[in-house]
């Protein structure tokens, strides 16, 4: 019995380790979802193994709860899986994060400076949308109506905006 338990434990551990590696490496969010689903199911198997070794019946409800939680997680993520931009699935290095932060701060400073200058100009002729204009709206947030339909050939991640999820496909679900 001990040999069986050790072999089962090693197999489960290796399987979970492989899934965790995939979750770390996975190029997209859905790959990570699948990998974490595998981790949860392996965890269920490990708890079942423990219950079998110790002959404990009181951990059986834990199995029920774990199977529920794993299902809800993966379905939720894939239901709201919108297109993630290119390079979003990568963990950035410290230098890149620092550079992005500096760029963001600089943009904020410029916006504030522009708004102050705009207020000085606005003394004699009021411009109602000046303060809004300094907060530059992000272009490309909403796709045109010709792209909103479910196109037959998805054009790679990062371009198929609104082909799935929030804007386009809600009427077909």
């Amino acid at each position: 019995m001990t040999v069986v338990v050790v072999v089962c434990g090693v197999l489960l551990t290796l399987g979970a380790a492989c899934a965790v590696v995939r979750a770390e490496r996975g190029p997209s969010m859905l790959d990570r979802t699948v990998a974490l689903d595998i981790v949860v199911t392996t965890m269920i198997a490990a708890v079942a193994l423990y219950a079998a070794v110790q002959r404990r019946t009181d951990v059986v409800p834990v199995l029920v709860v774990l199977s529920l939680v794993g299902f809800v997680g993966s379905v939720t993520i894939s239901r709201f899986a919108a297109v993630e931009p290119e390079g979003e699935g990568r963990v950035r290095t410290r230098e890149e994060v620092a550079a992005e932060e500096a760029a963001r701060l600089r943009a904020e400073d410029e916006a504030i400076a522009r708004r102050l200058a705009g207020d000085d100009d606005a003394d004699d002729e009021p411009e109602p949308y000046d303060t809004l204009g300094s907060m530059a709206p992000h272009p490309g947030g909403v796709a045109g109506p010709e792209e909103a339909g479910a196109g037959p050939a998805p054009v790679g991640p990062g371009q198929d905006v609104a082909g799935d999820g929030r804007a386009g496909g809600t009427d077909e679900r």
Binding site: I38, A45, V60, V75, G151
Partner: protein, 132 residues
């Protein structure tokens, strides 16, 4: 055979089921790590996974051998069989729509063909409605 012998048989069968289930869980992990694209990984994550979990639960039921616990295990197995296809469907659908399916690896791609046909039909309808 005596009751003691039956107990031994059940324990051995439980050990075999546990080994099989653990091996299938291991296979699912390796498949998720090594398969090339999302659909193949999803396949590894659902099919061997569910069979492996059912085997582990059968092994646990053979080992526990008490009524209430076994029914709870049946509940877990049935729930897993109900939810794994739903989760796989959602993941596959989201993956197809966000363009994470590698079409060069597919042997049969019925969805793309049907969608192209439907779009052609819709365009024909529009043209027919606009022309006369």
């Amino acid at each position: 055979m005596s009751a003691d012998a039956w107990t031994t048989v059940a324990d051995v069968a439980s050990a075999v089921c546990m080994l099989g289930g653990a091996f299938l869980a291991f296979a699912a992990g390796v498949g998720a790590l090594r398969f090339p694209d999302l659909l193949a990984r999803m396949h590894a994550g659902t099919k061997p996974q569910v069979l492996g979990l059912v085997l582990v639960l059968v092994g646990l039921a053979l080992r526990l051998r008490s009524g209430g616990a076994v029914w709870a295990l049946v509940l877990v197995a049935v729930f897993q069989m109900l939810t794994a296809p739903v989760a796989a469907h959602m993941v596959g659908r989201a993956g197809y729509r966000t363009g994470k399916v590698r079409h060069d690896l597919l042997v049969v791609d019925e969805l793309t063909r049907d969608m192209e046909r439907a779009q052609d039909a819709a365009e024909d309808d529009e043209r027919g409605a606009a022309a006369p």
